[in-house]
């Protein structure tokens, strides 16, 4: 004890504070901040080492693919790389210029090059994204490219008069630069007209915006249904004695433990027109055999199956918020003169807001990106935007389009998240 006090006693003069320098120093005169940083550096390095595997994992499996996806949505050089002469002509002439002899000469040269390099298919595919049926135009023209003679304009048009289509030239101009916004435009049902101005596509080809709106609306509806169904269940779980609520909780979690595919297919068994529910209704005389209800392969099927699958994501945050709410709050409100409805609305409900927020955000975001269930039970009308993304990934092989759609989806989700933060506050969210 005596030693310590002796060390501390001269503190003000020899150690801790030096009024002249205005900075704190250690006993041997080093700046305190630097000494502290040095003392902590070792443990900080060790801590970094511990999280390094996770950091690396996240970087490789999350940050890099998302970055690559975003890059792909604005970058596609299939045309620019393989049609260099035409790319130069487009760069030299402003949008709206009639393709002249030089342009056709460049096209002929590029088609010959494409034949030699066997890249006509690749180029055709790129243009085909925007004008269907053009892939064969490129491949067949490239096959006969060696026969092309000046004057190239007549020669090319003799090969296939589709080359005179101004819309084709417009699309080729768009594709002539590696970096392009055309996929985003397409994802928003927009295109560039002959003069290069942004315009909406024809009525019957506007699919994406409508699908985005439908996805968001359906997700909101599913979130709302989940909240309506989940709130009473979570409340019941929270007020029951622990032994019984644990049993109920297992029932809530049961869907988590079965495969998504099994769950979805069992909905198919239940809901289809020859399924269990319809059979029971017919047998019970509620409906007659001719007017069986269509609950599957349409929006209704998507909604029913997704509500079932996402319900636990609503119940769990709600439960975790409700469990610690002491019943004496509602009792206090009642004793203070509030009816049970007022007590619920003004005292109980506000305290569950963090859970409602967390559950709704979770369910909504999961629903917006849901793929497998709508694909299996959605039919034609129950498809969501993720099904279209999958289509572009797997069938049309237009990855740039898929990337643009996914990026827009990501932006919408981030925007909602931001909105949620502004309105309720992320700090107020409680997931469990």
């Amino acid at each position: 004890m005596a030693d310590i006090t002796a060390d501390i006693a001269p503190g003000p003069t020899a150690g801790s504070s030096d009024p002249a320098a205005g900075r704190l120093t250690t006993a041997d005169g080093q700046p305190l901040a630097r000494a502290l940083a040095r003392a902590q550096a070792r443990s900080r390095r060790r801590a970094l080492l511990l999280v390094a595997p996770l950091l690396l994992f996240v970087l490789i499996t999350f940050v890099v693919p998302i970055g690559q996806m975003l890059y792909r949505s604005v970058h596609n050089d299939a045309f620019a790389r393989n049609m260099p002469n035409l790319a130069i002509w487009f760069a030299d002439h402003p949008a709206g210029t009639e393709p002249d002899e030089a342009a056709f000469a460049a096209l002929a040269a590029d088609l010959q090059k494409a034949r030699a390099d066997k890249t006509a298919g690749e180029v055709g595919t790129r243009i085909n994204y925007e004008i269907s049926g053009t892939r064969s135009l490129f491949t067949s023209s490239a096959r006969n490219a060696d026969d092309l003679q000046p004057p190239y304009r007549e020669s090319v048009l003799a090969l296939d008069e589709d080359w005179g289509d101004p819309r084709l030239w417009q699309v080729m101009r768009g594709a002539s630069t590696a970096y392009t916004a055309s996929f985003y435009l397409a994802a928003l049902d927009l295109t560039r007209d002959e003069t290069g101005a942004i315009a909406r596509v024809e009525e019957n080809r506007r699919v994406y915006v409508r699908l985005f709106v439908k996805t968001l609306a359906l997700s909101a509806l599913i979130t709302g249904i989940c909240l309506m169904l989940g709130f009473p269940v979570a409340h019941l779980l929270a007020v029951l004695p622990l032994a019984r609520s644990n049993l109920l909780m297992i029932l809530v979690l049961l869907p988590f433990w079965t495969s998504l595919l099994v769950r979805t297919t069992s909905w198919m068994v239940l809901l289809q027109e020859q399924g269990v529910i319809n059979n029971m209704l017919v047998a019970g005389g509620v409906i007659d055999d001719g007017s069986r209800i269509r609950m599957m392969y349409n929006q209704a099927g998507t909604i029913i199956a997704m509500v079932h699958i996402l319900l636990p994501f609503m119940i769990l945050p709600l439960y975790s918020v409700m469990r610690p709410i002491n019943p004496s709050y509602v009792r206090a409100a009642r004793s203070l003169g509030a009816t049970s409805w007022t007590a619920f609305r003004r005292v109980y409900l506000p305290q569950t807001l963090p859970g409602i927020g967390a559950g709704s955000l979770l369910v909504f975001i999961l629903a917006v990106g849901y793929y497998i269930t709508p694909a299996l039970v959605g039919g034609a009308s129950g498809q969501l935007i993720s099904n279209l993304i999958a289509y572009h990934m797997q069938d049309s092989l237009n990855w740039s389009m898929a990337a643009a759609l996914a990026a827009i989806l990501l932006a919408i989700v981030l925007m909602l998240y931001w909105l949620y933060d502004r309105l309720i506050g992320i700090d107020n969210m409680k997931l469990g």
């Binding site: 009792r331 206090a332 009642r334 004793s335 203070l336 003169g337 509030a338 009816t339 007590a343 305290q351």
Partner: protein
């Protein structure tokens, strides 16, 4: 001994439990045949160990539990089927139950808003209630920004702000430390006197019950064991449970040897004989438990009444406690007999191993039912 308050007066009690029974499971009774009248302006405490039914009684009065049988009346009106929000009873909860998402002022405004009071009137009442508990400066704070004692004051103010005639308190001071608890006891008592409200207070802390109440109802096993003013409860317990539950107590088991109107002689297991006052023994030869308060035990012959029986005692341990010496004695074969000697200037200092003869006034030794 305080005078009996208006409670038992014939002109009708303010709160009345009439043959009330309560069962949760249909097999056992938590409250067995409760009859209790509480007078207007009275401070009545329900005291008892946990599970004795006292909180259930309070909850029935507040309306959160329904009586299985019997009638509860408030101001002469049966309230069994009146929902809690129409009873107009203020209540203070053990965990305060301040609404965490509202400020102090909003908490206090709540009962006034649901009663449809205007803004100006509300604010006046809130201000008055906050001043009453000296918390006027804290109106805009959140409950989480207050200390336990401050939250308790706000809870009190909230229970009083709508001018209820009856306020229920369910172990309101249980979570506070000792010093704060004593201070709040004083505050609650002051508010009770000042406002003239009727208070029903539930606690398991006998010190709290004795210092605050006009009357105390000691609960055990679903029944009121004794209903009496604090001094009477302490000095004249009616049965062994009350004697043992309230304050410290020496217990000497024995057999009734002589039985008279106001005096009995009890022979202990060791063969010695002591004097006692019969309380709930009926006849000679009966088993009994004689209870004596440690501070009423004397070891100096001049302090004992003439002719009283005395017992041989061996000093086992003397603990210095400042104001008293707590002396543990071996009496009648058992070494847990406690005697409290005041620490006065001329006090004889006992030492372990010393033999003394102890005695008491017969009226301080109460012959009760054997436990």
């Amino acid at each position: 001994m305080t005078a009996q308050p208006a409670a038992a007066s014939a002109d009708g009690a303010f709160v009345e439990f009439d043959r009330v029974q309560k069962s949760y499971d249909g097999e056992t009774l938590v409250v067995k045949d409760l009859n209790l009248q509480i007078g207007k302006g009275e401070f009545l405490t329900m005291l008892g160990p946990s599970g004795s039914g006292k909180t259930t009684c309070l909850m029935m009065l507040a309306g959160f539990e329904t009586a299985t049988h019997g009638e509860i009346r408030l101001g002469g009106r049966p309230i069994n089927s009146v929902p809690p929000h129409k009873r107009g009873i203020g209540m203070v909860f053990q965990n305060y139950a301040l609404f965490p998402h509202m400020s102090v002022a909003e908490n206090l405004a709540f009962p006034l808003e649901v009663r449809g009071l205007g803004k100006a009137e509300r604010e006046a009442k809130i201000l008055r209630a906050l001043d009453m508990v000296q918390m006027g400066r804290f109106a805009s704070r959140r409950p989480s920004q207050l200390s336990g004692g401050q939250q308790q004051r706000i809870a009190l103010a909230r229970a009083l702000v709508f001018d209820p005639e009856l306020v229920l308190m369910d172990e309101p001071l249980g979570a506070l430390d000792k010093q704060l608890r004593e201070h709040m006891q004083f505050e609650i008592k002051r508010l009770h006197d000042q406002l003239g409200i009727t208070v029903v207070y539930v606690t398991h802390d006998q010190g709290e019950a004795l210092t605050m109440s006009d009357r105390v109802a000691v609960f055990n096993d679903g029944r009121i064991q004794q209903l009496a003013p604090p001094a009477e409860l302490y000095e004249r317990p009616k049965n062994s449970f009350v004697a043992q539950f309230i304050g410290e107590n020496n217990k000497l088991p024995g057999t009734v040897e002589e039985f008279g109107e106001d005096r009995a002689v009890v022979r202990l297991a060791s063969g010695e004989v002591i004097d006692a006052t019969p309380v709930n023994i009926r006849s000679k030869g009966q088993q009994t438990l004689v209870s004596i308060r440690p501070e009423r035990v004397e070891f100096k012959p001049e302090m004992m009444p003439a002719g009283a029986h005395t017992l041989d005692a061996e000093v086992v341990e003397v603990i210095y406690m400042g104001d008293i010496f707590r002396t543990r004695l071996k009496v009648a074969g058992s070494d847990d007999f406690v005697m409290k000697c005041r620490n006065t200037l001329g006090q004889t200092r006992l030492v372990p191993g010393q033999h003394v003869r102890i005695g008491w006034h017969p009226q301080d030794a109460r012959a009760l039912d054997p436990l």
